[in-house]
């Protein structure tokens, strides 16, 4: 097992990211000749894919699928910096308020048609149009307008200057779809990505094949990619051990030692920015009372939760999704674990006798149901009688998330500070599962987006984190590590703290 701590975002990287209006496109190493692809790679997932339309995907395994089939204008390098994707180059003539992206020529969709700027405009508007009810509507940044001045240029106009815009386009909602092939996106998706859709057997596997006309010369190297779903843990493990699969996307942390024992397998564990908030709906009782939220925060021993759920494979968090590795990390502290203080807050709020509450958690995402079980006795110590309700992940997304009062959610990290805070905590945010609407936080987040001065921005984001730590709607007890396993012969797949999987350069040897 190697622990690769190098590939996390650092402050230095962030500065580089902001560094210039124009980032020159690094030319692709031309020496590589398009070799005939070889090998079949099967990646295992615990969950099964529900949607393949990138505008509507909500879970990180789906992000992996769309990342393989589609391309974005930009993509992230190993250091999470945006580098050219379908856009060869980009610039902002007015310091970040509007952005021009120049499309690469000769890119073709899987059905043969060439990529045009209109496709990009169409793809963005699909997400942004409120009528489509895309979950990513508020996650693409403060876009006002998207236009195509010519066939190979796309122009984004923003509400104000927004430095991280090229990075934000790397996510799932920034995928470019063919505007003439959207009706069947969930059945037979068509993109420009390295692999083409072959077959999707729901609940079993998604089979993709090499896109021979991929715009990156010589890539991809693999013939076929399968995303296979294994609801049973033992089965997933056994499949990897027997060579049925070559990669296990996400290993539950408690099993890292076991999987590491497999002889043909290499396990990589890195700190990730993924987190599992205990969400409190702040628009309805009991959590509309900030004192109750604070009582809950003080009742929970974050250190304990981290030790039980992650067995130490992560770091303690302070109720904000900004990880210590972030350039905008503010060293804030949530109210400390103090049962007496928590009880006092409860009685101040008129709940000295406590109250019953249902806590929802999925049993299909490692850590969620465990977190629920670990905090149950802690909350019961201050009189909140917890009834745990475990639900499968798909139903969690449909019925619990953004609906129930109290639940354990599950998030992978986001590349930009804006994405790490705005969608969750702004009152209009796409992922505001708390229905949190704090005018001050809204104002700070809006202001920080537009603020170009780095230290002023850091100050604004620091204030947000402070506010969230003190009486925010989420208890974020930890950032978990991310562990993934591959057979030793698999190379060229970078391990991303965001749990993304880039298969362009993947190859199987031996």
């Amino acid at each position: 097992m190697t622990v690769d701590r190098a590939s996390s975002i650092t402050r230095k990287d962030f500065l580089a990211l902001l560094g210039g209006g124009v980032l020159a496109a690094a030319p692709w190493p031309a020496g590589r000749v398009a070799a005939q692809g070889s090998g079949v790679l099967k990646i295992s997932f615990r969950s099964s894919l529900v949607r393949l339309d990138p505008a509507f995907t909500v879970s990180s395994d789906e992000y992996v699928a769309t990342q393989t089939i589609f391309d974005n204008l930009t993509r992230l390098d190993a250091n999470l910096r945006p580098i050219p994707g379908l856009a060869e180059e980009w610039s902002s003539p007015d310091g970040g308020k509007s952005w021009l992206f120049k499309l690469r020529s000769g890119v073709r969709f899987h059905h043969g048609r060439a990529l045009e700027a209109e496709d990009v405009v169409f793809s963005m508007q699909r997400v942004l149009n409120p009528a489509n009810a895309s979950p990513g509507r508020r996650a693409l940044g403060p876009i006002v307008e998207v236009t195509a001045p010519d066939a190979s240029t796309v122009k984004f106009t923003l509400e104000g200057p927004f430095a991280e815009f090229p990075a934000i386009l790397t996510g799932t909602f920034g995928r470019i779809v063919a505007r003439d092939a959207v009706d069947s996106l969930n059945q037979k998706p068509i993109g420009t990505g390295p692999f083409r859709f072959v077959e999707w057997v729901r609940g079993q596997h998604l089979k993709l094949e090499r896109n021979a006309e991929y715009w990156m010369p010589g890539l991809p190297k693999l013939n076929e990619v399968w995303l296979v779903s294994y609801p049973a843990q033992a089965a997933e493990q056994s499949a990897l051990a027997t060579g049925e699969t070559q990669m296990m996307w996400d290993i539950p942390l408690s099993l890292v030692p076991v999987v590491s024992r497999l002889s043909n397998v290499q396990v990589t564990e890195i700190p990730s920015t993924g987190f599992q908030p205990i969400a409190m709906r702040s628009d309805r009782p009991p959590f509309n009372d900030a004192r109750i939220r604070r009582a809950v925060k003080q009742a929970i021993n974050r250190e304990q939760v981290m030790r039980f759920v992650l067995q130490g494979r992560g770091v303690v968090a302070q109720d904000t999704p900004v990880a210590p590795s972030s350039a905008f990390y503010a060293n804030v502290s949530a109210p400390p674990y103090d049962v007496a203080a928590a009880r006092k807050l409860m009685s101040e709020a008129g709940h000295s006798g406590g109250f019953p509450l249902r806590l929802f958690a999925s049993n299909e995402r490692a850590g969620c149901i465990e977190t629920a079980q670990v905090v149950k006795p802690m909350l019961e110590a201050i009189g909140i009688k917890i009834e745990i309700q475990q639900v499968p992940w798909d139903r969690f997304n449909a019925e619990v998330w953004k609906k129930e009062t109290f639940f354990v959610s599950n998030w992978v990290g986001r590349p930009t500070i804006d994405e790490q805070l705005y969608p969750y905590f702004h009152s209009t945010g796409s992922w505001n599962e708390y229905n949190y609407a704090d005018p001050e936080v809204d104002r700070l987040l809006d202001q920080a987006r537009r603020e170009l001065d780095l230290s002023a921005r850091r100050g604004l984001y620091g204030k947000v984190q402070e506010k969230l730590a003190y009486d925010g709607p989420a208890i974020i007890p930890y950032f978990s590590n991310y562990a993934t396993a591959r057979v030793r012969g698999l190379q060229g797949v970078p391990v991303s703290p965001l749990k993304w999987v880039d298969l362009r350069e993947a190859q199987l040897t031996g």
């Binding site: 979950p135 729901r202 609940g203 609801p231 049973a232 997933e236 027997t242 449909a398």
Partner: protein
């Protein structure tokens, strides 16, 4: 002959009547479920107006009886509607999954019938002796072990030797296909085998003690003929009934086993539907299962009819 046809017809009519009755039951039950189909289809970010519009388009605003009519009419035409969660028509998926499950269930049923009757007969012939005790004891353990326990233990012991999950289409090679079936079939077989063996044993003991077997013995027939021709033939009757009853159990067992072994069959589809409150899919899956059960009962009746001349004649 006419009376046989008559009985077949009556039973077929009953089967159809039961199926209709069950479909009403399923429809009513799903109507009671929380959750809104239109909301399911449009997702969490849909506006109330859009939901209402879709409800009108789908006819969800009509009275329940009208909805039932169009739903049932659709089923008769082979149209089970569209799954809101998967956003695809249900029928093709249902048929594919059903096929996978039938392979699993069919193989298990054949094994169970074959081994169960054989072991039951052997135990009955060795009644009270060591072999009988061992088999009876083992069957007691068998009926006490639910599939998910058996399955988990099989996974524990066979992980790395046999595939413990998934499905391989037969086109990928017979062995690959079979190897994926071994453990699920074993798990299903174990619990049912015990039931069938016990019934076969008891009815065989009863048959062996019957006057007609005594007649056969005193006719001087060789033991093999007495056992296989005279006793077994009659002992099969209650055994067939129990195998028929076990089909109902099997369907439930398939659900669990498919989950344990991630086998893409009707059972897992049902669990998916139920867990996700995919109402049209729940309706389709449960009704299909009920249909299989009813068909199995009908088939059992027919086999019973064929084996039992007493029912056949006037």
């Amino acid at each position: 002959m006419r009376s046989v046809l008559r009985q077949v017809a009556i039973r077929a009519l009953w089967a159809i009547a039961t199926l209709i009755f069950t479909s009403i039951l399923v429809f009513t039950a799903t109507q009671l479920m929380p959750g809104n189909v239109a909301q399911l289809i449009l997702g969490q970010f849909a506006s109330p107006e859009a939901i209402t519009a879709l409800e009108v388009r789908l006819g969800l605003d009509r009275p329940a009886i009208v909805q039932f009519g169009s739903w049932f009419g659709g089923i008769i035409r082979g149209d089970f509607g569209v799954s809101p969660r998967m956003e695809v028509p249900i029928a093709p998926i249902l048929i594919q999954r059903l096929g996978h499950s039938l392979v699993l269930a069919g193989l298990s049923l054949c094994l169970v019938a074959l081994i169960g009757i054989t072991l039951g007969t052997i135990a009955a012939l060795r009644r009270g002796r060591a072999l009988d005790r061992v088999l009876t004891g083992a069957s007691l353990v068998g009926i006490s072990m639910p599939e998910f326990v058996t399955g988990s233990l099989l996974i524990l012991f066979f992980a790395g030797i046999l595939p413990v999950s998934g499905f391989a289409p037969p086109q990928e090679g017979l062995w690959r296909w079979l190897s994926h079936l071994v453990l699920p079939v074993l798990s299903l077989t174990f619990i049912m085998l015990a039931h069938v063996m016990r019934t076969a044993r008891v009815s065989m003991i009863e048959a062996l003690g019957s006057p007609y077997v005594r007649t056969a013995v005193l006719k001087g027939l060789p033991k093999r003929t007495v056992v296989l021709k005279h006793a077994l033939r009659n002992a099969l009757l209650p055994t067939v009934t129990v195998i028929g009853i076990n089909v109902g159990y099997l369907i439930g067992g398939v659900v669990v086993v498919e989950l344990v072994f991630s086998y893409p069959g009707l059972g897992r589809l049902t669990v998916f539907a139920v867990q996700n409150r995919d109402i049209p899919l729940i309706q389709a899956c449960t009704l299909t299962m009920a249909g299989i059960y009813i068909l199995a009962s009908f088939t059992t009746d027919m086999i019973y009819l064929a084996l039992n001349p007493r029912l056949r004649a006037e």
